[in-house]
C-alpha cells in the first residue's frame, strides 16, 4: 500500500515544492479554501482524526473550541518530539515538510489564524533545513503570505527552536517557552483555545496530526474512517526501537496488533525471546506477552492497564533487566521534571534514588515499599501528565516483574559495578 504520511518513501524528492505539487500537493488546501472554515472543521471532526502526539484528543473538536469572529489567533505545530523512543515527527519534517505545512495552513484557515509557528526541539535544527527551504518556496509561490492562492486568506509561518526540554511538548509549557519564559505548564483553565499564545486563542497540534489533514480534505472523511477501527480510524506512524531486527518508523492502519508490529520490524533481534515492551515510549506502562495480540488503538491496551500514546514501541528481549529499564526511565523523568509541582520534582528525585539503590544491590524490602509509596503520591497530583508518566515505568515493572525486584533486595543478585552505574548516575 502506498504511504499516506511517509510519502517520501514512495515519491523521490517530495520535499521539493514542484514534486509535491506534481503529486497532488496543496490540493487539500485548495479544497479547504473553496468551503467555509466551519465546514473544514466539520470534515476533520467526521474523519475521527485524533491527536497523534499521545493524548489522542479529537482534532476537529479542538479546532471547534476556538472562538469565532475577528481577533488574533495562532496555530502552533508541536515538533518538540522528545518522548523516549519517538522519532516520527523528525522524519516528517525532514522528508515530507510540505504535507505538514499544508496541514497547518488548513488548520489556520479553519480557525481564522494569520500566524503559524512550528516549535522544533532545539536538537532538531539539523533536521529542519528542508522545512525552512519549503517555507521559502511557499512564500515565493504565493502559498504563504498575503492572499494565499488568490483567496482572502493570508498567513505567515515561522519556525522556532527550543533548547532541550521534554516538558515543552506539553502545550501550555510550549506556549510559555515560545513567549520566552521557562517552559513550565500552567494550571488549566484557561485553556489555550481561549487564552494561549500572547493571551490569544491558540491551537497546538502535533506534527503527525497535521500531516493527516491534507489527504482527509482531498479524499473525504469517509475515506479516512474506512481505515483503522471504528473508534480509532486512520493511519499512524509507529516508531519501533530496542531489541528488534529493523528499528525504524512504520506507517500502519490503526488496529494492527503489537505482535504484528514486532514482525514488521523484522522480529526479535538475534532470535531472542520477547520479554516486554513500552508501547508509548517512556510514559506508558510496560506490557508483556499477554498483551501482544491487543490492537494498537487508543483503547486497545486499556484491559492491560496501558496506553497507545504516541505509539513509540520500545521492545525488550529476555536479556533485559527490568529494574535497570525502570531506572533508566525514572532517570529520564527526574531529569525532565520542570520543577514546578512538588510531587513530581521531589517524587522523581526520590524514586530515582531508591530505585538506584535497589538496582545496585543495596536495597532492602523496605525500599520496595518506599518506592511504591512515593510513586503513589505523585500520580494525579500535578499540573501536567509528566508526574503520572514518571510513575508508570515503576509501578508497571513492579506489577509484572516483582520477582526481579525481590531478587535484588534479597541479596540474591550481585552488587552492580561501574559500567551502567556511571552511565546512569552522571547523565546530568
Amino acid at each position: 500500500m502506498a504511504h499516506i504520511l511517509l510519502r517520501h518513501r514512495d515519491i523521490e524528492n517530495i520535499h521539493e515544492l514542484d514534486v509535491y505539487l506534481a503529486h497532488g500537493g496543496y490540493e487539500g488546501l485548495k479544497k479547504a479554501l473553496s468551503i467555509q472554515p466551519d465546514e473544514v472543521i466539520e470534515v476533520v471532526k467526521k474523519s475521527g482524526l485524533r491527536g497523534r502526539g499521545g493524548a489522542g484528543f479529537p482534532t476537529g473538536i479542538k479546532w471547534g473550541f476556538i472562538p469565532k469572529g475577528p481577533g488574533e489567533k495562532y496555530v502552533i505545530i508541536n515538533t518538540d518530539e522528545s518522548e523516549t523512543g519517538t522519532f516520527k515527527d523528525r522524519e516528517l519534517v525532514e522528508k515530507n515538510p510540505h504535507q505538514v505545512i499544508e496541514g497547518a495552513l488548513i488548520a489556520a484557515y479553519a480557525i481564522g489564524a494569520r500566524t503559524i509557528y512550528n516549535y522544533f526541539r532545539g536538537e532538531y535544527m539539523d533536521a529542519a533545513y528542508r522545512f525552512e527551504e519549503a517555507l521559502k518556496a511557499c512564500y515565493e509561490r504565493g502559498l504563504l503570505g498575503q492572499n494565499i492562492l488568490g483567496s482572502d486568506f493570508s498567513c505567515d509561518f515561522y519556525c522556532h527552536y527550543g533548547a532541550g526540554a521534554y516538558i515543552c511538548g506539553e502545550e501550555t509549557a510550549l506556549i510559555n517557552s515560545l513567549m520566552g519564559n521557562l517552559g513550565q505548564p500552567w494550571s488549566k483553565p484557561p485553556f489555550p483555545a481561549i487564552e494561549g499564545l500572547y493571551g490569544k486563542p491558540t491551537v497546538v497540534n502535533n506534527t503527525e496530526t497535521l500531516a493527516n489533514v491534507p489527504p482527509i480534505l482531498v479524499n473525504g472523511p469517509e475515506w479516512y474512517t474506512s481505515m483503522g477501527t471504528e473508534k480509532s480510524p486512520g493511519v499512524k506512524i509507529v516508531c519501533m526501537s530496542g531489541h528488534v531486527e529493523r528499528p525504524g518508523n512504520y506507517e500502519v492502519e490503526m488496529g494492527v496488533t503489537y505482535r504484528q508490529l514486532i514482525e514488521m520490524a523484522g522480529g526479535m533481534r538475534n532470535g531472542r525471546k520477547f520479554k516486554a515492551l513500552l508501547p508509548s515510549g517512556g510514559s506508558g506502562p510496560v506490557i508483556t506477552e499477554e498483551a501482544l495480540d491487543a490492537p494498537m488503538t487508543y483503547e486497545g491496551l486499556t484491559p492491560y492497564g496501558s496506553v497507545m500514546g504516541s505509539s513509540s514501541v520500545i521492545v525488550m528481549d529476555e536479556t533485559t533487566d527490568m529494574v535497570w529499564a525502570a531506572l533508566k526511565m525514572v532517570h529520564f523523568f527526574r531529569h525532565e521534571s520542570c520543577g514546578k509541582c512538588t510531587p513530581c520534582r521531589e517524587g522523581t528525585f526520590w524514586m530515582e534514588k531508591v530505585l538506584s539503590r535497589i538496582y545496585h544491590g543495596y536495597g532492602t524490602e523496605r525500599d520496595l515499599q518506599i518506592l511504591e509509596s512515593v510513586a503513589n503520591q505523585i500520580g494525579g497530583r500535578c499540573l501536567c501528565a509528566l508526574g503520572d508518566f514518571a510513575v508508570n515505568p515503576v509501578l508497571s515493572t513492579i506489577r509484572h516483574f516483582f520477582d526481579e525486584y525481590k531478587a535484588k533486595v534479597s541479596g540474591a543478585g550481585q552488587k552492580q559495578q561501574a559500567t551502567r552505574e556511571t552511565a546512569v548516575a552522571t547523565a546530568d
Binding site: 522528545s82 523516549t84 523512543g85 519517538t86 522519532f87 515527527d89 523528525r90 509557528y117 526541539r121 532545539g122 536538537e123 535544527m125 539539523d126 533536521a127 529542519a128 533545513y129 525552512e132 517555507l135 515561522y158 519556525c159 522556532h160 527552536y161 527550543g162 533548547a163 532541550g164 526540554a165 521534554y166 515560545l178 513567549m179 520566552g180 519564559n181 521557562l182 517552559g183 500572547y198 516508531c239 519501533m240 526501537s241 530496542g242 531489541h243 528499528p247 525504524g248 518508523n249 513500552l278 515510549g281 517512556g282 520500545i314 525488550m316 529499564a325 533508566k328 526511565m329 529520564f332 531529569h335 525532565e336 520542570c338 559500567t419 556511571t422 552511565a423 552522571t426 547523565a427 546530568d428
Partner: protein, 178 residues
Amino acid sequence: MALIAEKYAEEIEGILKRFPDKKSAVLPLMHLAQQAYGHMSREAMQEVADILEISPTHVLALSGFYSLYYEEPVGKYVLEICNDLACALRGADEFVEMVCHKLGVPVDGTTADGLFTVKTVMCLGACDRAPMLQCNLKFEEHLDEEKFDQLIARLRAEAESGKEEPSVVEKIMAYAKS
C-alpha cells in the same frame, strides 16, 4: 560587549520580526550567543538581556532550565551521546564507556587540548540509529568504534586546518535573514 549584535545583526533583526513580543526571541538569541561566546557566560547573558530589554537574571534562569545551554566552558566540539533506554538497549552505555576511555575523560569532562567535551543526554529522537550522538547539534548515527575514530580524526583535522564551517545553529538562524 556586542558580539552577536555585530556578528549576527541580520539574523537578529529577522528573528525579532517573527514575534509581536521580542521576549519570544530569547531562545534563538541565546543559541547565537552561545555560538559566539562559546558558552552562556555572564557577558553572553548580558548581551542577550540588553538586546531584548529583559533582566539578565531571566536569561540566567533559562540557561539553567534548558539543557542545550552550557553554563560552564566546553570544548570546541561537544559530543552529546544519547544513552536513554531505547539507545541503551542497543549498546549506548557501552559506547559511552568506549568514548570516555578513548578520549581519556569522564562524562562531562573536556580533553586537555580543549577540543572535545563528552556529555550524555536524554533521547534525541534517533533511537533507530543507535548508538548515536550529536556533535555541536549535528547528528552522527549508526556509530561504532571504527566510525567514532573516523569522526574524531575528521574533527581534529578540521580544527587543525582552522577552517570554520558554519555551525548548525548558524545555518538554521540564517533562514531568519531578510
